[in-house]
């Protein structure tokens, strides 16, 4: 098989699976599971072959043409796409596998696995897309499948609300994304990623800044950056494997991937904005994570925070970064590196939390767990590896990737460095807090008391991902997958090396140690008991955005919509539409009155018409 055929196979297999499940297997959950999982396995195998085969190519075909404007569908498979493909297909497969165990009892399994398949199709489309229009199409498909999966338990009001919220908030960002694409086409005359790389004409000072920022809006929505971060915590209403796949490892990372794709369009001013958005989000989310009670919400905020890291890394490292005298796109390297390791350990943490939730009969409150260490040993140890990776324990994957970002920050912008370091402290703090509350101390509820280790289909993915979280940061592993992207990852030398090592060790020890010392594994939040003000402050911080948006929607947008509705009812619907329709209808009634049904009348009309025609033909008028 040629590489192009393989890529086509990888892209289309999940679509076929989704179609088959949607059309024939909605009620046969068992067969649907089998179809979806075997397709995921097949495409993981083919992608692995494609990635390690080392073949890189572009291929495209024209899809639609309107005058001079053509929309093409095509593959751009370079090293960057290879990394992302690895994350999506490999992590995706293990999450499919985990789902077979997690969703075993679910009556609507067919719909669930169909949703997973359509998501894989959409996500792979983003990975392969060789132009921004194609990317946008799959971008929207990803949003759609995310909507389906968040709302999987749609009988729960909160789940269907969360699905709607995720979709609508994403649409806000996508609006900017689409504008950016259109402007890009207008200025550069192409949206093809390869051709864009060859254009150096920025189209003037305004457009050269506006285009990357508008495109960044798409990433703000999909990667849940501030101020559109509100949908991601709510999206935890979906099944836990969905949270692992979509809202931790792949879809939310699509924003970062897209930024790396359009790196050539970036200008320093735009990067500055992107850097600050990422940094703020990282800190904000870490603060919010401290006061969460729901195990998945803690992980959701931690995801937000880590995504902020990646975006900040991208913003920090423009192509002017010099490493050993050679200018490289260090931001792309650092962001993709962290994206990959994060996909491993965050998927691991989510699946681990899924295992915990499954074991505890769907109890999600960490204050009602406790003492699970001995009841779920395998989950405990894999989860511990995940925690070690995310807090940056030396030797684990997160340590390397986070260090690369901190190094960038140190060299570029001390303020960002300080904030990111503080975020790292907080990360260690809230992760250890959760870890301790869940696995140590006394068992605090009926469900937790009856917790049991999950089955093989759930523990196998945990083990595999734990191994990757442990070793995924070594350049031998990452370099094998990422090829040339791995060379873009900055490595500290000399004095910087020492500084970074000390700082990252220090923040980890301070964060983790203080959490271990501060929190007791108890039914109440120690922070709430000891410092009520701080706790309240953080809670308000978390809720402020939702309150603000609710206020805006209810008080501003709703009223404006009512005003427009009023005007529409009177002018558009009333005068213009009803008026025209009424007039036309009246003419119809009038015309119908001619049809009196009497032959005499008809004959008169006939003659009248005849005379008229004759008169016209004879030239009377």
């Amino acid at each position: 098989m040629t590489p192009v055929t393989q890529a086509l196979l990888v892209l289309l297999l999940p679509l076929v699976s989704a179609a088959v499940i949607a059309l024939f297997l909605r009620r046969q959950g068992g067969i649907a599971t089998l179809v979806s999982v075997s397709v995921a396995a097949a495409l993981a195998a083919v992608s692995l072959n494609l990635i390690l085969g080392g073949e890189r190519f572009t291929a495209s075909m024209e899809w639609l043409r309107f005058g001079n404007f053509a929309v093409s569908l095509g593959f751009k498979f370079d090293d960057l796409a290879a990394v992302m493909l690895f994350v999506v297909s490999f992590v995706g497969f293990f999450i499919h596998l985990f789902s077979t165990g997690y969703m075993r009892e679910d009556a609507a399994r067919g719909r669930y696995f169909g949703g997973l398949s359509i998501f894989m199709f959409a996500m792979l489309g983003i990975v392969f897309a060789d132009n921004l229009f194609m990317m946008f199409i799959f971008w929207e498909l990803v949003g759609f499948s995310s909507y389906l999966l968040i709302g999987h338990w749609h009988e729960r009001q909160s789940a269907s609300d969360a699905a709607k919220k995720a979709f609508i908030v994403n649409r806000v960002g996508d609006f900017g994304f689409l504008l950016g694409i259109l402007m890009c086409y207008w200025v550069h005359g192409t949206v093809n990623l390869t051709e864009l790389g060859a254009t150096h004409d920025g189209g003037g000072i305004i457009y050269s800044r506006l285009i990357p920022l508008l495109l960044f809006c798409g990433a703000i929505g999909k990667s849940a950056m501030m101020p559109l971060q509100v949908w991601l915590p709510d999206a935890m209403e979906g099944p836990t494997p969905v949270s692992a796949l979509i809202h931790a490892a792949t879809m939310v990372a699509a924003g970062i991937y897209m930024l790396c794709r359009i790196e050539v369009l970036m200008v320093p001013d735009a990067l500055q904005v992107i850097m600050w958005v990422g940094t703020t989000t990282a800190l904000y989310a870490a603060l919010c994570a401290i006061v969460q009670r729901d195990i998945k919400k803690v992980l959701a905020y931690s995801t937000l925070s880590q995504l902020g890291y990646m975006v900040a890394a991208f913003g920090l490292g423009s192509s002017s970064f010099e490493l050993n005298g050679v200018a490289i796109a260090a931001g792309v390297g650092a962001a993709m590196f962290h994206l990959t390791t994060h996909a491993f350990f965050k998927a691991l943490l989510f699946l681990g939390s899924g295992s915990v939730i499954h074991g505890c009969q769907h109890e999600q409150d960490i204050f009602k767990m406790g003492g699970l260490k001995s009841k779920m040993p395998l989950t405990f140890w894999t989860f511990t590896i995940g925690v070690a990776a995310i807090i940056g324990m030396p030797g684990f994957a997160g340590f390397f990737s986070k260090d690369a970002i901190l190094l960038l920050a140190l060299q570029k912008n001390p303020a960002v460095f300080a904030i990111l370091a503080l975020t790292a402290v907080l990360t260690a703090f809230y992760m250890v807090r959760m870890w301790k509350l869940v696995f140590f101390g006394a068992t605090r509820s009926e469900h937790a008391a009856h917790a049991h280790e999950s089955g093989f289909s759930m523990t196998l993915p945990l083990i595999v991902l734990a191994v990757l979280s442990a070793v995924g940061g070594y350049s031998g592993i990452f370099g094998r997958i990422a090829g040339s992207v791995a060379y873009l990852v900055p490595h500290a030398e000399g004095a910087d090396h020492t500084t970074i090592l000390i700082v990252s060790l220090a923040v980890m020890i301070v964060g983790a140690g203080s959490a271990w010392w501060f929190y007791k594994s108890d039914a109440t939040d120690t922070l709430e008991a000891k410092s009520r003000g701080l706790f309240r402050g953080l809670t308000v911080l978390k809720e402020s955005f939702d309150v603000l948006y609710d206020y805006y929607v209810a008080k501003v947008q709703q009223r404006f919509a009512m005003l427009l509705n009023f005007l529409e009812q009177i002018f558009l619907a009333g005068l213009i539409i009803r008026g025209c329709a009424g007039l036309v209808g009246l003419m119809g009634l009038g015309g119908r009155a001619l049809h009196v049904g009497s032959l005499h009348a008809y004959v008169y009309w006939f003659l009248f018409g005849l005379v008229l025609l004759w008169a016209y033909a004879a030239g009377v008028f």
Partner: protein, 485 residues
């Protein structure tokens, strides 16, 4: 087979078939046998038309001509005939005693139509026209009387009166043309008329001759019979009157219109005025209809107006698109009438509200209705869309911008009442009546074929348009060559 008989196989089959059915009518209650005979004739006619495609011959000193144009139309007409016979079923609304006779007159009317498209002489043309029209008058009157209601008689009288008057006017026009040229042969007349075409008498003659065809097509103001006859005749008869004669009408109009020289300006203006009035008139009144057949009647007036748009362009592409459009119209309207015939209880008329819940009672019928109405409304990818597109592009290419705008406006008005019918069929409140409508095999096949035809003709129009253009080229019309279409 003999080389002389071969080109006239369709006509001979119809004549022979007519005789056979006549013999059948002499016996008692042989309606089944008559129907079988009619279906056999229709199938044989279709086969013969296919077989004779591309034949050429002349008869009666050139008054009757077999050429590519006539053979193509015979093919179209025989396909329509087969559809009509199948759709008639066992004629639920015809008086039981005269059901065999119904088939006899149906076959005779077809004979007239098939002959009509081959006529290139005024005399044969009038004879063929009458032969196709008179049996229709009888068919209208053959509807069963229900509850003492005799609306079918009234309709038949109206139909016959209009028909005779229109034919009289047409003959009067022909007499002018004969007086001017001294010939009854259309090709000769075409040549001799050119030098005198600008005179009022030639234009009057031609205009009056058109009236006979306008009546067949139901162009304003010769349309008054249409809704009453649709309503008064049985569903099967109405589906016949609505579809096949219009194809014949357009074919004859092509021959008559080509008498006028292409640089004539008066006739295009006249035709566009009639087209505009017909479109508005048909569409506006259709808005206010409750009876589905009456609605289709008024919409038929509007569609005849659309077809006239092709004649306004007055070139080969325009004629070709008019013929293509009317062929598509035949298929679309038959699709709608199949639904009417099957939905109707014991053959009575169908109000739009009776369609409620059709998609539950018979999904296939609902689909046929939706496809048919969408096509009539002119939505892509159906034939109605491609047909309108062809008409409008040819008219636009000749600079008739105002006409095109008005036609589009009318299409917009028309969508409203077509969609209203569909809304009733799909979302209407059926009051709990969900008795399934059982369709026999032949009806199912007919529905599927009609849907396929509507889609295929719309998606891949080039074969039939090429065939029509090619056959028109064989007529040697004094026209500018076809624009690229």
């Amino acid at each position: 087979m003999n080389a002389f008989i071969m080109p006239f196989l369709p006509e001979l089959i119809l004549l022979l078939g007519g005789l056979v059915i006549f013999v059948i009518t002499l016996g008692d209650s042989l309606e089944k046998r008559a129907r079988t005979a009619a279906i056999t004739i229709a199938l044989a006619l279709l086969a013969a038309s296919v077989l004779c495609f591309g034949q050429e011959a002349v008869l009666f000193d050139g008054a009757y001509r077999i050429d590519a144009f006539s053979q193509l139309l015979k093919l179209i007409i025989s396909a329509g005939f087969l559809a009509i016979v199948i759709l008639g079923g066992n004629l639920p609304d015809i008086r039981p005693a005269i059901k065999p006779e119904y088939h006899l007159f149906l076959t005779l009317s077809m004979t007239g139509l098939v002959m009509l498209v081959s006529c290139v002489d005024i005399i044969t043309l009038v004879i063929a026209l009458e032969l196709s029209a008179f049996p229709l008058y009888f068919l209208v009157a053959m509807r069963r009387e229900r509850e003492g209601q005799r609306i079918q008689m009234e309709s038949a009288i109206k139909y016959i009166m209009f028909g005779i008057a229109a034919n009289g006017v047409m003959l009067f026009g022909f007499s002018y043309l004969y007086g001017l040229t001294g010939t009854t042969s259309l090709p000769e007349m075409m040549v001799k008329l050119q030098p005198v075409m600008h005179t009022p008498i030639a234009i009057v003659g031609l205009t009056l001759a058109f009236c006979g065809i306008f009546y067949k097509l139901a162009i304003f103001p010769f349309h008054f019979w249409t809704p009453d006859v649709y309503q008064g005749s049985s569903n099967e008869t109405a589906s016949l009157i609505a579809s096949l004669p219009k194809v014949g009408g357009v074919a004859v109009l092509v021959r008559l219109a080509s008498l006028a020289s292409p640089d004539n300006t008066l006739i295009p203006i006249l035709l566009s005025a009639l087209a505009i009035v017909s479109m508005f008139y048909g569409n506006l009144i259709a808005l206010a209809q409750k009876d589905l057949k009456r609605l289709l009647g008024f919409s038929g007036i509007a569609h005849a107006g659309y077809a006239l748009v092709g004649f306004v362009a007055f070139n080969q592409a325009g004629f070709a698109s008019a013929l293509y459009y009317i062929t598509g119209y035949m298929v679309m309207v038959i699709a709608c009438f199949v639904v009417i015939c099957r939905v109707s209880r014991d053959g009575s008329n169908v109000a739009i509200s009776e369609l409620a819940g059709l998609h539950r009672r018979s999904p296939l019928l609902a689909l046929t209705l939706i496809v048919g109405l969408f096509a009539l409304a002119g939505l892509p990818p159906f034939v109605g869309f491609m047909g309108k597109l062809g008409l409008l592009t040819t008219a636009l290419a000749r600079g008739h911008l105002a006409l095109v705008i008005i036609a589009v406006l009318n299409a917009a008005i028309a969508i409203y009442y077509y969609l209203r019918v569909i809304r009733e069929a799909v979302f209407g409140d059926d009051g709990g009546d969900q008795t399934p409508i059982v369709l026999d095999r032949s009806t199912q096949a007919l529905c599927v074929l009609l849907i396929v035809a509507i889609i295929v003709l719309g998606v891949a129009p080039s074969p039939i348009i090429n065939a029509i253009s090619g056959s028109l080229a064989g007529l040697n019309l004094p026209l500018p060559p076809a624009a690229v279409y």
